[in-house]
């Protein structure tokens, strides 16, 4: 009975966190994107996300078109986390613009693709007070 209660308590604590935070992370990613919308970037409705431990990375492969300009924005709801996002071409070469940035729970990477093709968007939770940190990635283009 006691263990059942404990389990229920743990689940009660864990489920809202586990379920809610990616959506929250998306809100932060969109917050990072907001100033760029005013500059004419169309932000896609879709987003990509999950959770990572500190020091872990994930990769998203993305088709980009030469002639367009892209920003990728990464966010997490964990205030004291440090996240990063970087863009590599299909050969593994860092190809983002120097104005790409990372600021605590936000990060953004900017690319003007030198050629049309697949690119790797690498997201990382570099440090976090949480065991698992939710992240969300959105992108926009113009």
């Amino acid at each position: 009975m006691r263990s059942g209660l404990c389990l229920a308590a743990v689940l009660g604590l864990m489920l809202p966190l586990a379920v809610a935070s990616v959506d929250d992370a998306q809100s932060f990613a969109l917050q990072a994107a907001e100033p760029y919308v005013k500059e004419g970037f169309q932000v896609r409705e879709d987003y990509w996300g999950g959770d990572l431990g500190a020091g872990e990375k994930k990769a998203v492969r993305q088709q980009l078109f030469k002639g367009n300009e892209y920003w990728f924005w990464l966010g997490t709801e964990v205030e004291k986390a440090n996240v990063s996002v970087h863009i590599y071409d299909s050969e593994g070469k860092l190809v983002e613009q120097p104005d790409s940035w990372q600021k605590g729970q936000f990060a953004a990477a900017h690319i003007i693709p030198p050629s049309t093709g697949s690119y790797y968007i690498i997201v990382s939770v570099e440090s976090s007070p949480e065991e698992r940190t939710h992240w969300a990635l959105v992108y926009g283009f113009r």
Partner: protein, 269 residues
Amino acid sequence: MMSLRKTFKLSLLAVLGASISTTASTTAAEAPKRIDVSQLSKRVDDVVVPLPNEVFGALNKLGGVNWKEYVRNEKGSNFRERPRIALLLGTVIADGFIAVQAEDAPAVKDIGQRVLGLAKGIGVGNSITPHAKAITEAADKRNWPGVRQELDRTQNSVQQAMNEMKDEKLSHLVSLGGWLRGTEVLTSVVTKRFSEDGAELLHQPDLLNYFDQRLSAMPEFNLKLLQDIRAALGEVRPLIDVGDAQITHASVKRINEITARLDAAIITK
């Protein structure tokens, strides 16, 4: 509070993780200049499918395109098979982006209603009704960025609703229908006014592989059209997977013939 709908979609998006082997050390402030993608590419087997307007935007920058020429007004056929409706839905949403490029408000509004009808036919009409209304309102105001955003939301909502109903495969067919229509128009434009930069926009071998894998996982649909599409993707692959070489005018023309044939098969019984 996060909706389960979004949670489910995120799990389906299958953004696959990979431990990244780097050839240089990095700090929080500095990214490695190079990573080893040989390991990475084996472990990331998914790719983000771009919206048709991403390629249209790039195409537009290469010179004035007469988008009105590509606006399609006919209503098209009605289907009962859900995979066919899904393919057609993707195609019609792509037509919506074309109509926006052409700034053709009546066509946009017709397409909004057509999308709604198809979504109802596949059982996801409820999630589309507000978007169809917003498309009409934005078209009336000639708010083209607004229409684009609503078309994006429409596709997103359709696919989320399909995923909720465990119809992820139909969701892939929506993406495929849009990609085929977008590629048809891209190749038509570039065939008429060839440029190397225009042809380079076809360099999408990972997307071809992605769609091929998805189609191979749909044996239960058993539709000749899907088999034809898969065979056609096999025809297109060597034409665009050319490494550092240029995609030729003849290849662009051939891809246009293939995608136009598929598009005709998608919209007619």
